[in-house]
C-alpha cells in the first residue's frame, strides 16, 4: 500500500495574528502543523501497520521551517518525507494543492490523505483540490479508513455522531477529520535521531501557472469587528469565580 500524506504548515492561532497590508504578517507568527494533519499521519501509519506499505509525507515549505514537522512524521512511522521548497508564506491553498499534485503525480499513490481542513483554507482545502488535479475521487470528514485490496472502507462523519460507510476504489484522496486512535506518542529520542540522520527530499514548486490567473483576491484582513462582546468579569481568579457563582445564583442556576 502506497500512502501519501499531504500536510500543511500554517500560522499558529494560539497567539495574536498581526496583520500587514491585506494579509497576516507572516514574519511575526509561528508556523505549526495543521492539527488535522496529525490525524491523517496517524491514519496512514495505522494502515501501514495493518496491511504493510509505505507512507510518504509531503508538504510545502513556506518559510523554511517544515523540517520539524517532517522529522516528527518520520518518528511516528512515515518512511519518506518530501518538502516543496516554495518559500512563499502567502501561497494559498490552490497554489499549494497544485504544487503538491505535481509532486504526488509520479509517486504511484494508492491513497492520498490530507487534513480535512486548515484554519487558513480561505480558498478551500488542499485535499479536494489535489483530488481534482489528480483526477481522483475525494471523500472528506473521514474518521477511519481500512484498506482491503484495491479498495477501502471509509467512514465519513456527519453531525451528532451519525455518519456513513463508503467503499472507495483506489486511488483516492481522503480528508481526514480524526484517526480511529488519538495520534501516537513519538519518542523524543526518535525525533532527535530523525533530525540528525533523516534526509528530506526537496522538490521545486511547479505547475501553478493556471491557478495564479484567477485567485481569490484578498481586499482586507482584520480582527473581527465586534458586534456583541461578552460583558467581561474583571479581577483575580478568585474574584471572577465569586462573581460567576453570584451570577449563577441570581439566575437560579447554582
Amino acid at each position: 500500500m502506497n500512502i501519501v500524506v499531504a500536510i500543511k504548515h500554517i500560522p499558529s492561532i494560539a497567539d495574536d495574528l498581526p496583520v500587514k497590508g491585506n494579509n497576516v504578517d507572516f514574519d511575526s507568527v509561528d508556523f505549526v502543523l495543521n492539527e488535522w494533519d496529525e490525524h491523517s499521519i496517524e491514519q496512514a501509519v495505522l494502515i501501514k501497520e495493518s496491511v504493510g506499505g509505505t507512507v510518504t509525507v509531503i508538504g510545502v515549505d513556506l518559510i523554511g521551517e517544515l523540517d520539524n514537522a517532517l522529522h516528527l512524521a518520520l518518528a511516528k512511522g512515515a518512511d519518506k518525507v518530501v518538502k516543496i521548497t516554495a518559500d512563499d508564506p502567502a501561497a494559498d491553498s490552490h497554489m499549494q494543492a497544485k504544487w503538491l499534485s505535481e509532486a504526488i503525480k509520479g509517486m504511484g499513490a494508492n491513497m492520498v490523505f490530507a487534513g480535512v481542513q486548515a484554519s487558513n483554507d480561505l480558498d478551500g482545502q488542499i485535499g479536494p483540490m489535489i483530488a481534482a488535479y489528480l483526477d481522483m475521487p475525494y471523500i472528506g470528514g473521514v474518521s477511519s479508513v481500512e484498506a482491503n485490496g484495491d479498495s477501502a472502507t471509509v467512514n465519513k462523519e456527519f453531525a451528532g455522531g451519525a455518519g456513513a460507510k463508503y467503499a472507495v476504489s483506489m486511488p483516492f484522496v481522503a480528508g481526514v477529520q480524526s484517526a480511529p486512535k488519538p495520534p501516537r506518542y513519538a519518542p523524543v529520542s526518535k525525533v532527535r535521531q530523525m533530525a540528525q540522520s533523516a534526509t528530506v527530499e526537496k522538490v521545486a514548486p511547479s505547475g501553478d501557472a493556471d491557478v495564479r490567473e484567477r485567485p481569490l483576491r484578498i481586499l482586507k484582513m482584520a480582527p473581527p469587528v465586534v458586534t456583541g462582546h461578552a460583558e467581561m468579569i474583571e479581577g483575580s481568579s478568585k474574584e471572577v469565580a465569586a462573581k460567576i457563582v453570584e451570577l449563577l445564583k441570581s439566575k437560579g442556576l447554582a
Binding site: 506518542y185 519518542p187 523524543v188 529520542s189
Partner: protein, 427 residues
C-alpha cells in the same frame, strides 16, 4: 522455562582453523575428538556495536554475575546468560529479556570484565525504540505521561504541590519566597502525587520544619527527573526534561539541593554534570544524618518495632550511601534493626529501577516466578521484622503491594521519613 527464541544451529566440526592455525587440538587429543561448536558472533556484535554497549562483548562467561543478579533469583537472567542467548540466536533488541534488567548494578560489582549493564541496557533499549521494535505498553504510557504532564503518573502539573496541605506545616515555594534559601528540596514525582509517597513528603516537611532548616520547594515548576526513563531507553525525553529542569534549578539561588529519591540523586549528581549542571545534591538520608545530634532529642516517642532496611540500588550501589539510613533508624528509640541476608553492597533490587517501575505487569510475565519486590518482601518477612523500612519513593508502593501478595501483611512498609516523623510526634 526456556527463553522463546530459536537457537542458531551449532555446526559440529572435526577441524577448526583460525587465522591459518589449526586449533582442533587433534595432536594432543587424549581420548576422543572434542565437539567443536561454531557460533555466529553477529548478534553479540549487534549489541556491542551500539555506542555505550561495547562492554557486552567483554563477557568471558565466568558466571559471577548470575549469582548476584536479582532477576536470576526469580528467573533465568544475568549478563552471562544474555550473552549466551545472543550467541545462540537471540536478538536482544527484540526479546522480552531486553526489558527485565533493572540496572541494579550488582553484576557490575562482581564482573571481572566490567561488563556494564547500566550502560548496555539503556543503549540497547534506545536502539529498540529507534528501530520501532516492541516496547511494553505500560512503559510507553509512562514516557508519554512524562512528556505531556511532566511526571510518569500522568497527574496534572498544577497539582504538583497539592500534597502540601497534608503536611500541616509551612512548605514555602521558592518562587513566592523571592529570596535565596540554603536548601532547595526537590520533592519528586511519587512523593508529590502517589498517596503513599505523599505521606513521606509530608513527614519530610515536618522534619525539616522541626530542625529549622531554611528550605523551599519548586512547587508547580518541579518536573520529573526522567532518569529511569533514560535507563529505559528514552534518552531524548531525558535530555528534553534535563534542559527544562536545569533552567528551572538555575533560576533560583540556593546552596544545596536535597532530594527525596535516590533516582533523582543519581540524575542530578551523576548525569546532569554532563549537561552543564554541577551543584551540590544530597539524598535526604545523608542530609538528615548530619543533624543527628539535633534530631536525637526530638525523637521522643519510642517506635517499638523490629525493623529491616532495604538498600535502594540507586542510593547504595550507585551512590555509596549505606550508613546514613541505618544511623537514622538506630537513632529512633525502641527500634531493633535487623539485616536481611542480602544487604548493603549485595542488596536485593526491588525491581523498580531502570524503568521496571512501569513494567510491573510485563516483567512479571516473562520467565520469572515472582516479582522482585515480592521476593524481597519475603526476605524481609523471614527476618522476623514487622517493619520494612525504605528510602526510595518507588519502593513504598511496590513493597506495600508485595507484602500483601505474599501473605505478609503483618509487615508494615514505611519510609525512614515516616518512622522519624512518628517518633517525633508519637503515634
Amino acid at each position: 522455562m526456556a527463553p522463546k527464541f530459536e537457537k542458531a544451529k551449532a555446526v559440529e566440526k572435526e577441524h577448526a582453523v583460525v587465522d591459518g592455525v589449526d586449533v582442533s587440538g587433534h595432536w594432543n587429543r587424549m581420548f576422543e575428538q572434542r565437539v567443536i561448536f561454531e557460533y555466529t558472533p553477529e548478534l553479540i556484535e549487534k549489541i556491542a556495536d551500539i555506542p555505550n554497549a561495547e562492554s557486552f562483548a567483554n563477557c568471558y562467561q565466568c558466571a559471577k554475575c548470575v549469582a548476584v543478579c536479582p532477576v536470576d533469583v526469580v528467573g533465568n537472567y544475568g549478563p552471562r546468560k544474555l550473552y549466551r542467548y545472543a550467541q545462540t540466536g537471540m536478538d536482544l533488541t527484540e526479546a522480552p529479556e531486553l526489558w527485565l534488567c533493572t540496572t541494579c548494578a550488582n553484576c557490575l560489582r562482581v564482573c571481572p570484565k566490567e561488563v556494564n549493564m547500566v550502560k548496555i541496557m539503556p543503549a540497547a533499549r534506545e536502539q529498540a525504540i529507534l528501530d520501532g521494535k516492541f516496547v511494553p505498553a505500560e512503559l510507553q504510557q509512562a514516557f508519554e505521561n512524562t512528556a505531556k504532564s511532566g511526571n510518569p503518573l500522568g497527574q496534572p502539573q498544577r497539582k504538583r504541590d497539592a500534597w502540601i496541605q497534608s503536611a500541616g506545616v509551612p512548605v514555602p515555594i521558592i518562587k513566592d519566597l523571592g529570596r535565596k534559601v540554603s536548601v532547595l528540596w526537590y520533592v519528586g514525582s511519587y512523593p508529590s502525587y502517589h498517596p503513599r509517597g505523599i505521606d513521606a513528603a509530608a513527614a519530610a516537611a515536618r522534619i525539616f520544619n522541626a530542625l529549622g532548616i531554611d528550605f523551599a520547594i519548586l512547587g508547580k515548576e518541579e518536573k520529573d527527573d526522567a532518569d529511569s526513563q533514560r535507563l529505559a531507553g528514552e534518552k531524548g525525553l531525558f535530555e528534553m526534561m534535563t534542559e527544562q529542569n536545569i533552567e528551572t534549578f538555575n533560576k533560583y539561588e540556593w546552596d544545596e539541593m536535597v532530594v527525596t529519591g535516590p533516582h533523582e540523586l543519581n540524575a542530578f549528581k551523576n548525569v546532569y554534570p554532563k549537561y552543564g549542571f554541577e551543584r551540590p545534591v544530597v539524598h535526604y538520608s545523608t542530609f538528615l544524618a548530619r543533624y543527628l545530634d539535633q534530631l536525637k532529642p526530638m525523637l521522643k516517642h519510642p517506635v517499638n518495632k523490629k525493623i529491616t532496611y532495604h538498600d535502594p540500588c540507586y542510593l547504595g550501589r550507585h551512590n555509596g550511601e549505606y550508613e546514613a539510613p541505618r544511623k537514622l533508624l538506630e537513632a529512633i528509640p525502641g527500634v531493633e534493626l535487623v539485616e536481611m541476608q542480602r544487604n548493603r553492597e549485595n542488596g536485593y533490587c526491588c525491581g523498580g529501577g531502570g524503568g521496571g517501575m512501569w513494567m510491573d505487569s510485563f516483567t512479571a510475565k516473562h520467565n520469572t516466578t515472582m516479582r522482585l519486590s515480592e521476593k524481597r518482601a519475603m526476605e524481609a518477612a523471614s527476618t522476623g521484622a514487622n517493619v520494612l523500612a525504605v528510602a526510595c519513593p518507588f519502593e513504598v508502593s511496590r513493597f506495600t503491594d508485595a507484602v500483601k501478595s505474599t501473605g505478609n501483611e503483618h509487615v508494615d512498609v514505611l519510609d525512614i521519613l515516616e518512622l522519624l516523623d512518628r517518633s517525633m510526634r508519637g503515634e
